[in-house]
Symmetry: C2
Subunit: 132 residues, 2 copies
Amino acid sequence: MLLALQRATHRTLQALSGELAELKLSASEINVLGNLADGRPRSVRELSRDTGTRATTLTGILDRLERRALLSRELDAQDRRSFRIALTDQGREAAGTVHAAIVELERHALAGLSDQELASYRAVVAALQEVF
Amino acid sequence: MLLALQRATHRTLQALSGELAELKLSASEINVLGNLADGRPRSVRELSRDTGTRATTLTGILDRLERRALLSRELDAQDRRSFRIALTDQGREAAGTVHAAIVELERHALAGLSDQELASYRAVVAALQEVF
DNA sequence: TATTGTTATACTCTATAACTATA
DNA sequence: TATAGTTATAGAGTATAACAATA
């Protein structure tokens, strides 16, 4: 069950980065952009929670995305230890493409499953996220 | 939905390798041992399918596990291009511990969910695996 | 000719611990 | 003292292409 989860994650990530090949994004970069696609800026800590990636790993990923001008780190005036990671215009476009590819892959993979099955799936995945 | 899948995978892997800290296994090594835990030897190709890891990546993982005497590569007499990856006695013990930790983590995380929800979950994960 | 698995290379991800700045 | 985020280091995972051996 957990092993199937890993298998499915690997497979869908490979399929996704194949479809997004022209964007030259790694799996983690896709993950970050996919999460930021809603347009809401996040702190590193929050992004770490959302992606399941450690802050120390995120630093390098964000460095690369910032260097490619897809996102920016803006100082948070409320807490000056912290940044707000925000998409640039270019990043918004890339994130939009990522989001569309995710939606399309889901639509394709999940056609034929009932709403009820999908709701149950979401409940189980949510439960697995709470293992800590 | 796909993003939640990745998040859940990251989280459960981190929880697992935390619980298995004394075995000093990486997430991928845990994944390989968990799959081999049923005792059935597999070719690299088959293990690649089961784990969602590419053959080229698997080579290094198997090298390390073989060096630690947890598994062996036996020549396959039927197809001499291929190996049969089999657990050693020591590997069987480690794989048993991994398997037990997975079962326990699932039991803990999934308590309170109905059989029907779990069945739906399995159906969705199976569908996601078929994206290729 | 196609497939199995490995190697080579360069890059990305990860864990751990130590560190700076701010709270 | 605690938290946010980065850096440093060493090791592990990845993609890609090329390769040897076997089918």
